[in-house]
Homo-oligomer: 443 residues x 2
Amino acid sequence: LLDEDNEKTRGLCEELRPADMADLLEQLPEGRRYHLVEVLGPQLAPETLAELAEEVRDEIIEAMPNAQIAEAVAELDTDEAAFVVQDMDDADREEVLAALDLADRLALQASLDYPDESAGRLMQREVFAAPSFSTVGQIIDRLRSGGRLPDLFYEVFVVDPGYKVLGSVPLSRFLKAPRDTRLTDLMADDLVRVPVLMDQEEVAYLFEKYNLISAPVVDESDRLVGMMTVDDVVEVVRTEADEDLLALGGVDREESGLSVPVPKIARSRFIWLAVNLGTAILASFVISFFDATIEQVVALAVLMPIVASMGGNAGTQTLTVAVRNLATRDLTGANTFRVVGRETAVSLINGAAFAVLLGVTAGIWYEAIGGGGPGEGVILGAVLAAAMVVTMLSAGLAGILVPVTLQRFGADPAVSSAVFVTTVTDVVGFFAFLGLAAIFLVG
Amino acid sequence: LLDEDNEKTRGLCEELRPADMADLLEQLPEGRRYHLVEVLGPQLAPETLAELAEEVRDEIIEAMPNAQIAEAVAELDTDEAAFVVQDMDDADREEVLAALDLADRLALQASLDYPDESAGRLMQREVFAAPSFSTVGQIIDRLRSGGRLPDLFYEVFVVDPGYKVLGSVPLSRFLKAPRDTRLTDLMADDLVRVPVLMDQEEVAYLFEKYNLISAPVVDESDRLVGMMTVDDVVEVVRTEADEDLLALGGVDREESGLSVPVPKIARSRFIWLAVNLGTAILASFVISFFDATIEQVVALAVLMPIVASMGGNAGTQTLTVAVRNLATRDLTGANTFRVVGRETAVSLINGAAFAVLLGVTAGIWYEAIGGGGPGEGVILGAVLAAAMVVTMLSAGLAGILVPVTLQRFGADPAVSSAVFVTTVTDVVGFFAFLGLAAIFLVG
């Protein structure tokens, strides 16, 4: 990177789209990042701020003079502006808000008053709406005359005198109609409305399901208060899917960015590992019950991780499918019972398959190494086989019942399920295998 | 559900949006599903077919008469039509294609000729393009005069006489301009173009990054051949994120739907579990080296699952973050080295933390149960602590290096990484713990 020639740097950066500029800033080490922001000064496009990863944006904003932030915020749509200022500390945010003109300030303030991750926070307040009696011609004239219009929009929202949403006309349909056509004749009235307090995950679900490009956001009395566009939704879909992926892997989304400092990552992962340690200790506790058995038949210690590992993996498979189907809402109260039946069937089939496979192999191995008395290989094989079936069945049941139950009690099944499921499979697996061995092999 | 009163059923279904109708069909058991499709007959909206989950759609289409399918396909945009016919068997597809009019047939045939999951397959061929010298007024007149226009579109693509894409004008900007404005004065020329053979994952990346609503699809000579819209991309984002989630959980996407039959699910999961069994057997093999050591100190059998479990979980954490950052392209060739450094640091910090925690606890426990000679608790604690550090470090390194290496060799890091990482952590964990114990504790 050119450090000395600021002119040249500015020239190169001028050609970048805001998203590319944001990528560049994210890839740079911290020192360079600030340097570049300083060199660019006001040339840094306001949209770049909106495109940055959260932790990088927060840092850059802290380093920028409030006056420059205010200028940037004034140029952005309310949804992007809210993104930029929401994590600033209160004093700085007040200063930025105070520097805005009244209309911008009120709009932004209203956005910030809605809860985080709600439609109200994600929407832009700039919308284009028209009364139902207007004609195509009147609206085109109004659009051409300028005024406070949203930068980009995709449909004309049709409202009554109380600003209640009646329907909408996509711009492409609008453009095909003669000038004297009334909006009422063009509008679709099965429009999907987004309540202003709806959670972003619900909003994304609506957009995905009905293939929406934009949708009106309405308050409790069905009055138009803003508009959501699909580009925000793409980000929500990505974020929510990522959250599930990361949660199943035992990671906070906040520490998944590559700019998060090492101590913060270590602390956040430590917590999850500590929770998991509880599970591991519980499993050890089960094993310690059977230390006398293991002392007599060390082969048990050799084979027991196989039982736990197969159980853990089978449980993870079922859990992953369950979490995914809960997220897409294919798994509902109506079909839970049927799905549990399916998982039970799958567990029993695979449990039986691996029982035969492993029971025979372990029996032959044990006879071959000459462990135990004659015929004990058969017993060991049978014990392992029985333990496999029990463990796989418990894995299947825990894999589906744990997330469904957590969801029913309002917890996020992706975050907390994995540790419960592993606990079940570990404890059941060790208990079944060592317990059966204690009875039939050593007994 | 009303089974007897077909009239009433038809009435109720008439009010449903296609997406809701598709949901209803998916939730019904198979028998009912066919019955409903039969009762509805031609009333079933063509869009419903496009909205259905793949496995349900394929079944319904097999049961529908080809003539009805052809009628439905004729009404759909090419992207949706391609969805519907792509999985039909060849003879049926030929029959449906033959029943279409020439233009529809050629368009659909061309779509199907592009590879699965490419922009060419996902795009719709219906686009609205205009020469650069046209004025706003001319275009509005052309739109009003009707003809073969796409149902919904969001921008006017500006082309030269050879149909090369020069730029585009969003409809909202277009509507604000006076009738005599030329397109050249309105168009943005930093338009993002999608090459027709681009993979859908790349397309989704472009749409997400640049917040696109629609984009022109171009062939090798930059000529306009179709248009992609963001609603298709939302589905791709969801699908690709789901694929990563499921792959990490050891599940094929194809068996994650709730309508897949049990034997197919069992078979697909069996394969993954069998691969994992290889890992587990390898781990057992390591343990069997140390059977004499375990026989002398059974406490090792009790504690060894803790080492493996902590290693496995730490590896999964790192792997999950790596897979996610590879998917979002935040982890690139440029910063791999730095990220490996970070993961090493995090592993060492948490490895040390758990080493102290577990070493002390295990030492006290071993002394308390009176295992071994005096002072052996200290040695056991030290061995466990050292094994923890080694295992956590190997987990961190494997968690980042395995997916990065797989990606570099063109493999999907989400699908194949987990088994490699677990193999490393299990083998290293058992080997370090039991090996150190064999040397220092039993010696």
